[in-house]
Point group: C2
Chain length 161, copies 2
């Protein structure tokens, strides 16, 4: 691929051999409204500080805050749009922290870095790539730092015995 990639979204699907440790993917931004924060919480995390401004003001959050899992879901939306893995982005799990809450009106930006690449010992057609994604708000404060392990296929015909 000698052509410079002007459009990250148009990058061809990536195989295991295409990843390099330290490589970065810019996930762009997503904004979140108070209504969306409340709707997510009503379904999955129905606690007062995620659903009601007045209760949230009186809570440890001192204002309406998104569920951490809503923050995770928003990060996933940006990750899927920015890391075009062949066959799809399939997570095995990982670890995450929520250093600051996501607030109504926040515009969140995702930046993802390749941390490690581990070919499977038992299955030469695939491997695991660890991706560290930092989701920051418009003030540059992190709202989620996550390292997730994703399954990535080797190029068809490559890595076989």
């Amino acid at each position: 691929m000698d052509e410079p990639q002007q459009e990250p979204m148009m990058t061809p699907p990536l195989y295991l051999e295409d990843f390099h440790v330290g490589e970065q993917f810019d996930g762009g931004t997503v904004s979140v409204s108070a209504d969306e924060i409340k709707a997510f919480a009503a379904k999955y995390d129905p606690q007062p500080f995620h659903m009601d401004e007045e209760a949230a003001n009186a809570s440890i959050f001192k204002g309406l805050a998104a569920s951490g899992w809503h923050t995770s879901a928003l990060a996933m939306r940006l990750l899927v749009a920015s890391v075009p893995i062949a066959g799809g982005l399939i997570g095995k799990g990982g670890e995450l922290t929520w250093p600051n809450p996501t607030r109504p009106g926040d515009t969140l930006h995702l930046m993802t870095t390749v941390v490690s690449i581990t070919p499977s010992k038992s299955r030469p057609d695939r491997g695991t790539v660890a991706l560290r994604s930092e989701l920051t708000n418009q003030r540059g404060e992190p709202v989620q730092i996550a390292t997730m392990n994703v399954v990535v296929h080797a190029k068809p015909g490559a890595g076989r015995d």
Copy 2:
């Protein structure tokens, strides 16, 4: 509290001193439909194997599968309903794996165990409780195993210098 607790949901709010390592909380069950799986994915994880049966059949999942983050959100719903922490259940982060996908029609059951209790050194009015939650489907297969660190307040007036 000498009375036996017949109704876990009616347990009074829990403070740091109320937790014991090894203690378990039964989170009950939640069911998930194909429509809900597709709706969550359309918003947060728009990949074919989460949104379309035919594409899912041809994928690594061999059938429609929920986003891992949808599984996390469903686990949170059961956790909030079953671990009544004073001031609310506030996660700092943690680690998780998705050993099996959540499927349409699954009924998921959550069981949570207290792993560790760590009073804060700098803030005697609070501490961190690590909760290990296992979410299993109706066949007893785990769909998520997560250990999350949550902020828990000490009893008012307790633990102060």
